[in-house]
């Protein structure tokens, strides 16, 4: 039981660690269209890249705004840089995008009624898996050693142990 608990704790921790990682802060693609006015301030530039990596490009839905070369992504990168230079916080910039494109732009959707299953689902499945596993193991153990032999079984065992070699 204790080891089972340890496994659960470990899995939960691993899940949390994975969730902490941003979607993919990969290097921004270099194209001719890329000539964006990058803020001179390296901290602001880093913020812009980190924000872009958190946001989904709606045109090519499996890429982030930072990675995508779609025109819209280029425009939104420009928008992020402008908002940063206007002194907006990361939270305000995320809100700006959500107000226009909805929660769908977020690679990390917020926890609310419509997304509850998305967030809790894997843990629910884990729980179901543990319950099923425990039941299976319990029934197996019972079959293996807990039940005393019936009279017939004991006689059969004795006969085999006597080693007469005779088979039925």
């Amino acid at each position: 039981m204790k080891s089972l608990l340890a496994v659960i704790v470990f899995l939960a921790a691993a899940g949390a660690a994975v969730a902490q990682q941003p979607a993919s802060p990969g290097a921004p693609a270099e194209t001719a269209k890329e000539a964006l006015p990058t803020p001179k301030d390296p901290v602001a530039a880093k913020r812009a890249v980190a924000l872009g990596a958190e946001l989904r490009c709606l045109v090519c839905q499996n890429q982030s705004i930072e990675e995508s070369n779609a025109e819209l992504a280029v425009d939104l990168r420009r928008q992020i840089r402008e908002l940063i230079s206007q002194g907006k916080t990361d939270g305000e910039i995320i809100d700006y995008m959500v107000a226009r494109y909805g929660d769908f732009v977020l690679y990390r959707p917020p926890f609310k009624a419509t997304t509850a299953l998305l967030w809790i689902g894997p843990f629910l499945l884990l729980l179901v898996g543990i319950v099923v596993l425990r039941r299976v193991l319990a029934s197996r153990r019972e079959r293996a050693d807990d039940r005393p032999l019936t009279e017939a079984e004991r006689r059969e065992a004795e006969r085999l142990l006597a080693g007469t070699g005779k088979t039925k």
Binding site: L58, E71, L72, D75, L76, V98, R100, Y101
Partner: protein, 178 residues
């Protein structure tokens, strides 16, 4: 009893999964619901395509039910819905304002000449900023805006005759009564 369960549970899981996947087949992942529906249309002021000296603002349409149609001469799907828009304009069903999105004005004007101009007027959004405010991500897109300036409906992609008959026109009629 137990044996029956061993078969029934995986079967039930399979059926549920299959239903979800079947539903997923019918959904279009490109149609992302807009958070702007039910909210006031973003304010904007842009130059008119026909005469850049004249500005147009969304407020100029206050008190009217109108469509804001996002289009561009480079947009292939726009050609698909264009005959429908021309027809709507000919019948005078509802005013359509064109948001010429990230386009060259010269190309845009040539395009209207070639395919017909269904717009009460078009405004130019050359760098796509107003488009971003409206959450535009795939041209064509069409917004139905009511008398109070609230966005009531968004059509992503070309307006199909079916969408027009079943969704857009009924709502236009309803909003005009209000």
């Amino acid at each position: 009893m137990k044996r029956a369960l061993v078969f029934a549970i995986p079967l039930a899981i399979f059926v549920v999964l299959a239903l979800f996947l079947l539903r997923g087949l019918g959904l279009n992942p490109r149609e992302v619901p807009s958070p702007l529906i039910g909210k006031p249309a973003p304010q904007f002021q842009l130059k008119q395509l026909a005469d850049p000296a004249v500005a147009f603002s969304g407020k100029d349409m206050a008190g009217k039910v109108w469509l804001l149609n996002v289009w561009a001469s480079w947009c292939v799907a726009c050609r698909e819905e264009h005959p429908l828009l021309v027809e709507v304009a000919r019948k005078n069903l509802v005013p359509i304002v064109g948001l010429n999105y990230k386009d060259e004005p010269a190309d845009a004007k040539a395009w209207l000449k070639q395919f017909g101009d269904p717009y009460s007027l078009s405004v130019t959004d050359r760098d796509g900023r107003v488009g971003i405010d409206f959450g535009v991500y795939g041209v064509p897109e069409t917004f139905l805006i009511d008398k109070a300036g609230v966005i009531r409906l968004k059509q992503i992609g070309p307006i199909t005759p079916e969408a027009w008959e079943k969704k857009i026109m009924p709502m236009v009629r309803e909003l005009e009564k209000a």
